[in-house]
């Protein structure tokens, strides 16, 4: 166990091959561009750019998609800082102090610190990845169908529970995703399920079409609703630099929050949004100047930026080592790489060590490239923000349709895309969390197969739940994750009551 230095070096040599460097640069650039567009985040960026990976080597495709992912995270922070419009949940915390800094004429410093914090956070997380990924993969080898089934149940319950105050909506969203996954021929018995007599549906609904529909078409339609609203005023960026004093203030927040973000990223369900929010509030509590938070405190920008990038790297561990994506975005990546013929899971590390280590190295190089891109070329990148959304959204819509066509060469998929585009729109309007649906669509089929395989070994549900110490632990974790929101709201109510009675 431990770190295989030779494999790490071999991976580095593969990564620095010109073609792979090109994919890193292309992914990082395209991700940054899409991530910068207001309202569009990493998941949309990947969903939209999936067709580029067609015909590519799985390793290169994975490198490209990961680069798009963290590129979009960088891009999301650009629009947070400059326009006060975060690309997605994980970039929200960057608006709290990043935008006030830009308002004060410190846009250049804000962009620089965000890029540096993201780089350091990312690098800390890559080191964590190297240490943790292989042991986790070896542990996962002990998983049988019952363990996998319950791990998926736990992942789904964690993501539902995190839809704060909207758990019921999370469950409904999850059920829709699971329903979609049951359409088509049943893999074990050949029975046709829910195909409504349509031959096209006998192979099931392609989850990538669902993803492109909900993320790309749904997001664009949702943005149509606010297309007439004026965007935040963009200040001139100025020179990208930070002062010694600013570095001194942000150094520790960056270093502290990298590992925190990484660990949150590894947990199923919790993604960059939670990591950055947690880091922000924690940093505010330990800061010597909590009053400056929200007014342009550099620590308030550095901490979440380090943390959310680290979380993005951490989220790849459960995805690659166990085949379980922990967030909507990694679910999209998982879907895409499965389509390319890779099977993520514990054996990936045994069978494709070169791929895994190349990927790890690509994250190092990718983060470095993005800092250079974001500091040297920020003037050009910022120009992208001048492009009117009225022009960009139609183009994105068109790309979504072409991407869909390339998945199955059938315009029947267009109808599915349109349906899920509107499903995505209404879910956003009604504030339904989308991640449970996406995750359920992707793990649904595997979850069912593992469930039914466990039923062969254990005749009833109780047998599955108590099959091994791992299943018992997973059941307990599921109960805790679902019970925690109720417990914390009960605690909050009790505290309020206590405060009220004391005030009286």
């Amino acid at each position: 166990m431990g770190i295989d230095v030779q494999a790490l070096l071999d991976g580095f040599l593969t990564t620095i091959q010109p073609m792979n460097l090109f994919w890193i640069a292309l992914g990082g650039f395209l991700g940054t561009v899409v991530g910068m567009l207001p309202g569009l985040g990493p998941a949309t960026a990947i969903a939209l750019l999936i067709p580029i990976t067609f015909g590519m080597e799985p390793t290169s495709a994975l490198i490209l998609m990961a680069a798009i992912y963290y590129g979009a995270m960088y891009g999301g922070s650009r629009s947070s800082i400059l326009l006060n419009t975060p690309g997605d949940g994980s970039a929200i915390a960057a608006t709290f102090d990043g935008y006030p800094m830009a308002q004060k004429g410190q846009a250049g410093q804000a962009l620089a610190i965000s890029a540096i914090a993201s780089l350091i956070g990312g690098v800390i997380a890559v080191v964590g990845f190297i240490i943790l990924a292989k042991p986790l993969a070896s542990f996962a080898l002990r998983f049988g169908p019952a363990e996998y089934f319950l791990l998926m149940v736990f992942t789904l319950s964690a993501i539902v529970a995190l839809a704060k105050g909207q758990m019921v909506k999370g469950f409904i969203s999850m059920c829709i995703g699971l329903m979609i996954s049951t359409v088509g021929i049943d893999l074990q018995t050949g029975v046709y399920r829910f195909t409504m007599g349509n031959v096209h549906l006998s192979e099931g609904i392609d989850f990538l079409v669902v993803i492109i529909g909900i993320y790309a078409v749904g997001e664009v339609l949702y943005n149509f609703l606010s297309i007439n609203k004026p965007v935040g005023e963009k200040k001139s960026v100025g020179k990208i630099w930070i002062t010694k004093e600013q570095w001194k203030r942000s150094k520790w927040p960056i270093i502290r929050n990298g590992p925190i973000g990484f660990l949150i990223g590894v947990l199923p369900g919790a993604g960059g949004a939670i990591a950055s929010m947690l880091s922000y509030s924690m940093e505010k509590q330990v800061s010597k100047h909590p009053e400056e938070f929200g007014e342009g405190a550099i620590e308030g920008l550095a901490a979440p930026e380090s943390s959310n990038n680290a979380a993005a790297v951490g989220a790849f561990i459960p995805m690659l080592a166990m085949g379980i994506p922990g967030s909507g975005t990694t679910a999209v990546i998982l879907g895409a790489i499965v389509m390319l013929g890779l099977k993520p899971g514990p054996l990936l590390f045994e069978n494709n060590p070169d791929m895994v280590w190349t990927f790890i190295n690509s994250m190092f190089i990718g983060n470095l490239f993005l800092v250079i891109l974001n500091i040297a070329l920020v003037g050009i990148l910022v120009k992208i923000l001048d492009t009117p959304p009225r022009v960009l959204y139609p183009v994105i819509m068109m790309l979504a349709f072409i991407g869909t066509y390339t998945l199955g060469y059938s315009t029947v998929d267009f109808l599915i895309l349109i349906i899920f585009g509107f499903v995505g729109l209404f879910m956003k309007m009604l504030r339904f969390p989308v991640a449970p649906l996406i995750l359920a669509v992707i793990v649904g089929s595997d979850m069912e197969q593992n469930f039914r395989m466990s039923l062969i070994s254990y005749p009833n549900a109780i047998g599955i739940l108590t099959a091994s110490p791992i299943t018992i632990a997973l059941v307990l974790m599921t109960i805790i994750s679902l019970g925690l929101p109720f417990f914390s709201s009960w605690l909050k109510k009790r505290k309020e009551q206590k405060n009220n009675s004391e005030a009286m």
Binding site: P51, L221, P388, V391
Partner: protein, 147 residues
């Protein structure tokens, strides 16, 4: 009333799924009811969630329900309706008149809708240019065959 639509819809979908799951053909291989279990479980969770959601909405009936207001503001309904028509037209035309012409029409339609008629010149240029670029990129660089 609007606030009850989604919970009722969720419950109804759950019930339909339940009925369909029970009526699934029995399998000749392995467990005859095997294909039924999982959909049944999903249907039950959906029905329960739908009912709980209904009561949550009922409890919150006095509060402002702003979720659908966006649909009534300004040009939003027009944008959505015309986009839907354009998307469906694109679906019909795509394989009949080919990628290039249908995409130019689709893109131009969306641009005229959002960007306005006054900018007709730039709308047409963008529609034609982007369609050609994607046609070339997908057809030649990525070697994806387009109709």
């Amino acid at each position: 009333m609007v606030r009850y639509i989604t919970p009722i819809l969720a419950t109804v979908v759950g019930v339909i799924m339940l009925i369909n799951a029970i009526n699934l053909p029995k399998s000749n291989l392995g467990n005859p009811n095997g294909p039924m279990y999982f959909p049944l479980l999903i249907a039950i969770i959906l029905i329960i969630s739908g009912i709980v959601y209904f009561f949550q909405e009922f409890k919150a009936r006095g509060n402002d329900f702003a979720d659908f207001r966006a649909l009534r503001i300004g040009k939003s309904p027009l944008y959505l309706l015309v986009s839907l028509i354009l998307m469906l037209t694109y679906t019909v035309l795509f394989e009949r008149i080919g990628f290039l012409y249908s995409t130019i029409l689709f893109l131009a339609g969306l641009l005229f809708l959002l960007n306005g008629r006054k900018k007709w010149m730039s709308n047409i240029i963008i529609a034609v240019a982007f369609s050609f670029v994607t046609w070339y990129a997908f057809g030649t660089l990525l070697q994806v065959s387009l109709p």
